[in-house]
Structures are given as structure tokens and as C-alpha cells.
């Protein structure tokens, strides 16, 4: 199984509640996947600053004085907000690459969850309610976000195997299903210069889309290409800095329900995930068609 939830807000009045709404939706999906949970929130960009979300198995050691050490390394101030096993680093956009290189050198055990203008990803092993509480997700605001609760099939239950996967700046992907040609696609993507953190099939789906976007394809075209090049079962929900997309494989056995009102576009693996959204009674509710790309961009 696996459970997916997603929200793309059209009404700025809902932005302060994004984290709370997504948390509620994700907790409703707990029985679709109790292994691990994660959430990506697009929290709005600050002028000239980028965000790098990092994770460590030993946060007290790895995060100690990390802001100062990075400041010394890149010569610019770095702000750090520690949340349990994760920390969000705010770095001047021009120094993002320098900061990531310095980070790999200064704290080699630290993993980068996401990097970009507005994305933050928090994910851990455990139930959605515990993961959400650990990172205080309910208090987060933002424009759009995606959550996932995992029932592992293809690879180990680890923090890095949890969704969302981010394989490009401000990009993320969650997946319900299993890909059968991921080893072949991974080899091809490695040859093209993409790097991988895990043996997970979903990471390949994420990197496949990131690679298409890198080559200048639109989000719509990148999603379209998954239908021809990826084999297996998938319902993907994808986030970019400005957009939110959904695609299901042609067999479409992995469930999906969407709802749209003037205030938001919402995705749930099941209708249960959507029932507490404002105005759901009058929303347009539908099941996304197989082999059909849906995306919204602001």
C-alpha cells in the first residue's frame, strides 16, 4: 500500500494552516503504511536566501556549531533551525553550492533531504503522528505540500528510504506502487550524471523527473515521460517550487482521489484523507484517470 496526501493552495488565507491540514490528512492515512512517514512543505522563498534541510543520526554531535563552521567555510552568515534529527540551514542563494560542498566536508555523515528556495523535507521511520509531532509540522505554513506514509516493499525501512525523495532543487516526489525497471533506469541516469542515495525504486522515479526538468522539459512533459519509460505500478505526486503534479500508470491499481475548490487542489490515496478539508462537501471530487498527467502551477 502506502498513503499519499497533497495540497496545493490557491487561497493565501489557508497558507498559515498548510502544515496542520497536511498533518491531519496524513494521520488519516496511517493504516496504509506504518513504516515511515515524511512531508515536504513549500514555505515560500525569502529574498536572496535558500534552504538546505539536513538530517543526521547523531544530531547533537553533527549539528553542534554547524552554523558557525559553515559561516567560516563560505564567508557568509548561515542560520540554522534544529528540529529533532533534522535541521534547516538558511544560506545566501549564491552560496548554496559552496555550502553543500562545505557540509559534505565538515559533516560527512549528514544527509541532505532537500535544497532550494522554499522546499523543506522532514522524514523519519515511524507513524505519521509521531513523525509530524517530532518536526512540529502542524505549525508550518506554506503554499503547497506533499505527505507520504510508507509500507515498504522494494527496499529497507530507513530514514533515507522514506518519502518524499528530492533529487533536484525545490523538487520532490512521493510514490505509491513499485517500479520494476528501476535498476536499468538508475544505471542510465547515473551514466547521465545523476547521483543516488539509496537502492530505492522511488528515488529512481524522482531522479528520472529531475533529469527531464534539468534538460529543460516542462513538468507536464517530464510526467508524461514516466508513462513511456517507467515500468511498474505508480501513482506519483510531484512538487516543484511553483507546481504540483499527479500521474498514475496505465493500469492505475494504486488508488487516488482528488478534490478541487476555489481555495485548493487536494490529493488523497483515499477520500478519507480529504473529508475534513474546508468546503469538501461542495468540492469537485474525482479519480485521476490512468495514464493522464495533471498539474497545477502558480
Amino acid at each position: 500500500m502506502c498513503g499519499i496526501v497533497g495540497l496545493f493552495l490557491k487561497d493565501p488565507k489557508l497558507e498559515p494552516k498548510l502544515g496542520a491540514m497536511l498533518t491531519d490528512m496524513l494521520i488519516t492515512m496511517t493504516d496504509r503504511g506504518p513504516d515511515s512517514a515524511g512531508i515536504a512543505i513549500y514555505g515560500g522563498a525569502k529574498d536572496g536566501l535558500g534552504k538546505i534541510t539536513i538530517q543526521s543520526a547523531h544530531p547533537e554531535k553533527d549539528f553542534k556549531d554547524l552554523d558557525g563552521d559553515l559561516h567560516d567555510a563560505i564567508g557568509q552568515p548561515v542560520a540554522m533551525l534544529v528540529k529533532s534529527t533534522h535541521a534547516v540551514l538558511e544560506v545566501p542563494l549564491a552560496q548554496m553550492e559552496a555550502a553543500r560542498s562545505a557540509l559534505a566536508h565538515l559533516r560527512p555523515a549528514v544527509k541532505v533531504m532537500s535544497a532550494g528556495d522554499s522546499i523543506e523535507i522532514f522524514k523519519e521511520v515511524g507513524l505519521p503522528k509521531d513523525v509530524a509531532a517530532r518536526f512540529d509540522v502542524a505549525k508550518m505554513k506554506g503554499t503547497h505540500g506533499i505527505g507520504h506514509t510508507r509500507m515498504a516493499t522494494e527496499s529497507a525501512v530507513t530514514t533515507m528510504g522514506a518519502h518524499p525523495f528530492s533529487t533536484g532543487t525545490d523538487q520532490c516526489l512521493v510514490h505509491n506502487g513499485s517500479l520494476s525497471n528501476h535498476n536499468g533506469v538508475r544505471r542510465e541516469l547515473k551514466r547521465l550524471g545523476m547521483t543516488f542515495e539509496t537502492e530505492n525504486d522511488t528515488e529512481v522515479g524522482a531522479a528520472f523527473i529531475s533529469h527531464k526538468l534539468q534538460t529543460g522539459e516542462t513538468l507536464g512533459n517530464a510526467l508524461e515521460a514516466t508513462l513511456t519509460d517507467l515500468d511498474g505500478f505508480f501513482t506519483f505526486v510531484v512538487g516543484t517550487k511553483n507546481g504540483f503534479g499527479v500521474v498514475r500508470d496505465p493500469i492505475a491499481c494504486k488508488p487516488a482521489v482528488m478534490a478541487e475548490t476555489d481555495q485548493y487542489v487536494a490529493f488523497g490515496s483515499e477520500y478519507r484523507a480529504l473529508v475534513n478539508l474546508p468546503g469538501i462537501e461542495d468540492a469537485r471530487v474525482w479519480e485521476p484517470e490512468p495514464a493522464t498527467v495533471y498539474f497545477w502551477e502558480r
Partner: protein
């Protein structure tokens, strides 16, 4: 009228109350409020009662139904009326994948659209869909009737046995061994009856439908193919 608040009392309490009716009861009218997409609402009922669910349901609503009339005043999740034995299930909205799968009897009415695999492996159930149906519908369907007022998706009736498929709109493609067949008087009579019972007689007439069925080449042993077996 027995009113049951699923949000307050919970699914187990609802289904055990309904199961306790067992065949004969004077509590013949039930209403379920706050379904909120819960799974297995009114599954396994075996009594001649009328149950109205006020809202949308999750997986397997009305599964294995016997005798009861179950109305869903919303949309239904995957596997609605799966393996229904008898009775009637009427959905005002849409139905998700594999509606009426393996159903052995009774009538399933979907007033909106049904998605993929509607009536997969149906074994005697009658299904009337006012809208469209998705791909792989009536896959390996064995008996019963599937009536579709709208269009059918890809691979309709793949590996079909003896179920009858009636479609008023277009069929995107037929599955293996499924062919169009002539409409005879008996088929018009079946359709007239099913459109009436499926609350669709004001929307469509029997003459507007085409019939699809099995070419019977796939499931019969063919001596010419003996070397391939």
C-alpha cells in the same frame, strides 16, 4: 428508522448491529450518517432491510450483500458491492475501481461513472452504470449483465465468458475474445427491465445499445491449437 452516527459509534458497532438482523427483522429502515469515506460500511448484511448511507464511502461498502437495499448518497471507494449475492446497491455518485467485482447476484446501480475493472469476474450480478466505465471492465466476466449508458474504456470484456455487455456510447477497445453481437428480442427485453430497475429508463432506450459478448474462442478447447498446449 434506525439512525447510526458512524463518527460516534464506529464501524464495528454498525456492522455487528446489521449482522445481528439475520434474515428477519422489524427494523427495516436504517440511515448511516458521517461515513467520511470509512471502509467496509454495511458489508456482509443478510436481511431484507433498506440502508441509506449519507455521504461517500471507502473500500468495500456493501460487500457480500444479501437481500438488503443499500443506497449511497455520495461516491463509493474501491470494491463497492464486491461479491454481492442478492439485493440492490444504488450509488448516487461515482464508483472507484472494481465495482461489483465477482458479484453473484443482485443489482448494482451507479448513477455517476465507474472507474477501471467494473464488473471484473462478475458471476451473475446485474450492473447498470448511468455514466462511463473505465478500462478492463468485465474482465473474465462469467455471467450476468453489464449495462453502460455512457462509454467504455480500453479492453472491455477481455477473456470474457458468458456475461452480456450492453454499451450505449463508444467502446475504446475490446479485450481479447470479446466481440460485438447482434441485439435480439430477448436482449431488448433484458435491457428494458434493467433500465427500469436501474432508474435509467428516463435516460436511455434499449434500441440505443450495442451488445458485446464472448467469441468463445479463448475458453473452449480448440483441437486446431492442440500443439500449442
Amino acid at each position: 428508522m434506525q439512525s447510526f452516527d458512524l463518527g460516534k459509534e464506529g464501524l464495528r458497532a454498525l456492522n455487528s448491529s446489521l449482522h445481528a438482523l439475520k434474515g428477519q427483522t422489524n427494523m427495516t429502515a436504517w440511515e448511516v450518517i458521517n461515513p467520511k469515506g470509512a471502509h467496509a460500511i454495511a458489508a456482509g448484511v443478510d436481511a431484507p432491510v433498506d440502508i441509506t448511507v449519507r455521504g461517500s464511502t471507502g473500500y468495500y461498502c456493501a460487500g457480500m450483500n444479501k437481500q438488503a437495499t443499500i443506497r449511497i448518497k455520495g461516491s463509493a471507494g474501491p470494491g463497492v458491492a464486491e461479491n454481492m449475492m442478492s439485493g440492490t446497491v444504488i450509488i448516487d455518485g461515482d464508483a472507484s475501481q472494481y465495482a461489483g467485482a465477482t458479484g453473484r447476484g443482485g443489482l448494482l446501480v451507479i448513477k455517476g461513472n465507474a472507474s477501471s475493472r467494473c464488473g471484473i469476474s462478475m458471476k451473475g450480478i446485474d450492473i447498470v452504470v448511468h455514466g462511463n466505465i473505465g478500462h478492463m471492465s468485465a474482465f473474465m466476466a462469467q455471467s450476468g449483465n453489464l449495462v453502460v449508458l455512457g462509454n467504455a474504456g480500453e479492453a472491455l470484456g477481455d477473456s470474457l465468458y458468458e456475461a452480456r455487455l450492453f454499451v450505449r456510447g463508444t467502446v475504446k477497445s475490446l479485450g481479447a475474445d470479446c466481440i460485438e453481437k447482434e441485439m435480439r428480442d430477448e436482449h431488448y427485453a433484458i435491457l428494458e427491465e434493467l433500465l427500469r430497475r436501474g432508474e435509467a429508463d428516463h435516460k436511455a432506450k434499449p434500441e440505443e445499445f450495442r451488445r458485446y459478448g464472448s467469441a468463445r474462442k479463448l475458453y473452449n478447447f480448440n483441437i486446431d491449437n492442440a500443439s500449442s498446449y
